[in-house]
Subunit: 242 residues, 4 copies
């Protein structure tokens, strides 16, 4: 067995450890499923298409065909369970992008030089909104961040702790940037972390897989079917009965 | 060109952007080069060897033959330049590991069940010390963390800001866990980030490469030779002259 | 001279140190000047009036006659100078107040038991809005916090740093709780702090004075006239000329 | 009744609310009881004496006669109960004080100009050590901070949360600066806060009293006898029996 396969097998063994997802203590975090990340014809994908025509095709298809339907399944069940639901978003709070972290401002500059427009929209802009297929309800949290990680520039840790949440189920885009950073931050702040392998994606399937492999260190990787089973009411009442 | 190659080419193009490393504004961060991470026969590698014999061989060889010599080169030059130098470490500050983030406590539990000892040593333990090949000088910072990211549980952001540092050169182990998380945190906190590709490593070369690819988003990937050139005195005085 | 007078004289001597307020590096922070803090007939003052009739009279008069007019003067000049302007607010982001820090939830409980309503409004509620006399412009920052200190639960530090702001002029209500905590947090995060003595107030003049005395340790106490002089254009161009 | 007395009466009524101090969930925090704060003939008190001869006499007497004996009583009982014990300290981690928050560097500069030496010692210096009357045991936490508040520049929040601590009993010096800031930070991070009125002090009794009055907003003010009763084993077993 080569080096990587040996490491991957070890991580898979670790991943077999059980994880319980009591709805009262578990939040669903939906990372950056905003229109400008989920749909074509916004500067985010436009700038990448300009750099490398066709580079976004697989990504946008996976978002549409897999990620959105899978998050919808999770949303329905977590809502039914009364769990905490958090949508994250990225947008400038000052209109001019000057408040974004430097690496995100560099993306805006690429957008300016290639397209004449910045990539990150202002908070409240139509393209900043959560994809209509996943709309947030009034009682659900939408936190805007200026960073890849959600914890760096929002009050999310405080929001979760005051509600008694100590574990998070993470979904959204893109796996290797905002999803991975948010998962790492959460685990470092002592939240148990489940990343849903088929409810997140990125531009390269290979980077998606490699990043999920590393995230085994920080918590659990589960697919949507598994999370649905871990959080279904029937199972929970059975558990209570036993 | 397949999806991943197309993405990789785009990231490589981004990486061609210039970065300046003025010694007064740049810190060298050496992540977790502690004996128990760099040398065999400590619980860290022992537990992995127990799980999967031979899994650490390549990692330990790369640490010894590549990472340590390359960090030594950087250390010498950054010291000559009077730049800020930071060593990070992981260790329990309460002896019993109860203070580590939950994902790190899970590693300790694996150590307990497989070897009868925890993986993470107490602060000050000989195995907690920085590898003797890289010893910290008294005026250099050694920050102990309880997390993968250095910013989550130390005063590093404050330390860097009070010294006027706004860019960091990151090295150490392991690429995909503590190095990557620290790089992401730094970029999210508005520090410009350079990750030195041949001054860090992890257990799988494939995960090392994949994680470096993602880190292009957060900053610059440079090898040791390039960082040496970017920080050499001759070049700097030429710059000043011009 | 008695103990306190001796300490106060020492603090006054410290306060004589000069402070420069370059508009590009200075932000005006207006703490919690929301309707429910600035006007009668909201649960905030109602609950205190219920506990102790008349206890809010002096506070509300000082807000109306001194604090609001003085903040208006500062606002006008800081806007003219193009300085960063930040309004803070307190409100629940989950409607039910469960996300507020525990000490603020205790206030809500007092409101529930004495008046049948919570003290802190939801974000966006008319009573949550900034007092109309001070309305925020679209390009100005309004940050909602769940805490007394603004830095604990908002991205304000990031917002200030990405704009190159390294000093803050703090005003608002109430001096000894949210103003004082925000000033302490700012100074601890390496921002130079000016608290404007006659642009903030609290329920007891005595506590207002005592808290300002302690805040000498963290920065500078100046009155509105002094801050107006320190930030007026004429003075600044003279400085530049000299 | 005048304004302040009316406010004080209202705060005293609030303070009558009960607070439980289960030893497993409660930490004793001893703020900055380092030699250079507790004993004469170090630059900290020397610089104030130089500015205003005699200004430290009352403070040093209260530290010696009241604060140290009272903290010793608490220490003994909290140790017996197996509660978490935390000592905080202030010291430069870079020898030159450049890492301290700006307001603390200003104090160092006053020391340099009046005495030729900085006020804040390096970590590990004899004057940096905790007062020998209160020595920390190896299993107790000593966290060094660069700020007035302990949470701003240490991992204390993480340390408390990973141990299941959700309430803190705060003692030490000086009431209006480091004690008050730490208490505010703790309450803002959702820890229940008890400040022990006769186990902390500052340079002016009047500022001590005024700051304690404000701290009623953030939690509970109790004296040492009350905290001893709230944490004594007999009472606890009675509680359990009932």
């Amino acid at each position: 067995m080569n080096e990587h396969d040996q490491v991957a097998a070890m991580l898979a063994a670790k991943n077999a450890a059980p994880i319980e997802l009591d709805p009262a203590r578990t939040a669903l975090i939906i990372v950056d499923m905003q229109r400008y990340f989920t749909q074509p014809s916004f500067p985010f994908t436009d700038v990448f298409e300009k750099m490398s025509p066709g580079v976004c095709a697989g990504y946008l298809r996976r978002v549409r065909e897999t990620v959105i339907p899978n998050i919808r399944r999770l949303l329905q069940q977590f809502r039914l369970n009364g769990s905490t639901i958090v949508f994250t978003a990225v947008g400038t709070e000052t209109n001019d992008g000057s408040d974004l972290a430097c690496w995100a401002r560099a993306l805006d500059e690429a957008g300016m030089s290639l397209l004449g427009s910045r990539i990150h929209p202002p908070v409240g802009d139509p393209s900043w909104q959560i994809d209509p297929a996943l709309e947030a309800r009034p009682e659900e949290l939408v936190v805007n961040k200026l960073s890849a990680g959600t914890f760096a520039t929002t009050d999310l840790a405080h929001q979760l702790r005051t509600r008694g949440v100590d574990r998070v189920v993470i979904t959204g885009v893109v796996t290797d940037v905002c999803v991975s950073t948010t998962a790492r931050e959460a685990a470092d702040r002592d939240f148990k972390v489940v990343v849903v392998s088929d409810a997140c994606t990125t531009f390269s399937e290979k980077l998606h897989q490699a990043n999920l492999e590393t995230l085994h260190v920080f918590g659990w990787i589960r697919n949507v079917d598994e999370v649905m089973r871990l959080t279904q009411r029937e199972k929970m009442s059975q558990t209570t009965r036993v």
